[in-house]
Structure formats: structure tokens, C-alpha cells
Symmetry: C2
Subunit: 138 residues, 2 copies
Amino acid sequence: MRTTSNVVNRLEEAGVKPSVQRMAIMKYLVDHPVHPTVDMIFHALFPAMPTLSKTTVYNTLKLLSEEGVVHSIDIDEKNVRYDGDISPHAHFKCKGCGAIIDLHIEMPDNKHIANFSDLKIDECQLYYKGYCKNCITM
Amino acid sequence: MRTTSNVVNRLEEAGVKPSVQRMAIMKYLVDHPVHPTVDMIFHALFPAMPTLSKTTVYNTLKLLSEEGVVHSIDIDEKNVRYDGDISPHAHFKCKGCGAIIDLHIEMPDNKHIANFSDLKIDECQLYYKGYCKNCITM
DNA sequence: CTTTGTGCAAATTCTTTGCACCAAA
DNA sequence: TTTGGTGCAAAGAATTTGCACAAAG
């Protein structure tokens, strides 16, 4: 299957051993670009993997985001969200339904901040909040 | 005192009754633009206000941010930060010392997203992470 | 009085930790 | 074996909730 080999590659390239659990979590993220929470991932995988523990999901996502294989997203005050798409893009959160949507717009240029040269910037997150199509009318 | 009357004005303009506690919290935010957590605010005010409860700090900040008097900042995974400066600006978080610094740079133009016209955007947050001057060398 | 704000204590929720067991090299 | 991964149960930390009391008009 296409995704599976991609997933193995992405893990191995980052020096992460592709265990069954790690591959399942990574594959889930790639196949479900909805920026799921730990809980969502756990409940999605549990039926097919009844020995999976939430601790492992936490451990894995922590490892993967430290290694840069996935991104963690703090757009939601309540839970951390995870994104398997690490290309630069912004996010929009609907305050009505809670959905988090990718915005593939141009990200701000870090050179703008060359002035603030006493900072070493290595991450940038751009978040928008408002209401999506379905929630505007309500 | 300058700040106090400003604080009263900002609360009243938003239709928030200026109780002693609310004024103290608002004044603290304006006078200490370090994007404090609930806990920091509580511990700063408690000595002079021994009956203050953390619940009231939570209640007040929730109310103030709902009314747009302050901004809540999700740059830190662990605790929500609050900002009394509601002018548009970006934030930088040092991954070394944890400091959160204002970046008064131009914010991205929402018109860029006019294409995504099926979204009603009413908030924008721009976060940078990295290392500050003092933490780069370590 | 009546409404609104405050604050204690308990409950909830998300996340981390300690430790024992399992698996792969 | 030895190292690293997994998972349970417990701990920890941040925030919310329920309810009684206090304050203000």
C-alpha cells in the first residue's frame, strides 16, 4: 500500500524505529488530515489494536514531533492537535463546529524579522479563527 | 494614577462592571506586559488581596477575553497566557527560558484569504518560536 | 429584595511518570 | 543478554463546576 511505505520512509529518515504502533499512528495522521487529538487517534486505532495504550500514543506523538516528523498544533486551548503534513501552511479553526482546516496560503517571510536579529527563529505558526461556511448562518 | 482610570474605561467600554478584583487583574495585565498565566497573576495579586481566589482570576479572564478587553494567547502548550495589549502584533516564545516577547511587525493581511470566502475570519494569531539572545549561546 | 460577583471545595480533563513486562537485535 | 518500546495504574497540573455567601444597586 502506498501510504505504508511512505510512512516507513518518513520514520526511518528521521531515525525513528518503525514499530507497529508508530507506523499505525503515523499512517493514521497521513490518511486523516483533520488534525486529530491524542484521544481521537487512540479511539480510531483501538478497535483494530486492542492492546494499544494511550500512553503509547502520547509517547509516539511526542517523539515524532520532537524529530520533526509531525507538527503539533496549539490552535485549540483544550487539546493539542497533530498534523502529518509538515509543509508550511496556516490553520483555521471554526469556533462553531471546532473543525480545523488547512489554509495553503503564503506564510509570512521570516526575513521580516531580520531586524529582531537577537532572536533565532525556527518555527512559525499562523492561526486564524472564525466561522466556517456551515456555521456562519447559525 | 494613570493606569487605573484607563483600566476603568476599558472595562466600562466593554460593558464589564469594574469590581475591585477585575480592576486589579486588568491593571496587572496592563502594567506587566509579560503575557502572564492565571497562576502568575494570582500569586502576584494575592499578597495585597488575600481573599482573592484563583476561580475569580479564571472567571475574570474568561469574561475579559470574551468581551475582547484582553487577548488569550495559546503559544504555550501548557498554560494559557493573557495579554492586555490588544493591538495587532505577533508573539515570539523562547524555547530556552520560556519568555514570550511581543513582535510589533506587520500582521498578515486577511485579504490574502479572500479566496477562501467561505470562511468568516475574525481572529488571527501569529506565533514564532526559537531562542532569544540569552538562550542562543547555551 | 434582587441581581451579580466572589470564593471555597470538589470534580473533570489532559498529560506525564514510575515501573514492570515484552520484543527485537 | 541488553537495549529500547509498550502499557497499566497512579500522579500531577490546569481548568471548570456547583453551590453558598457577600456586595451593590
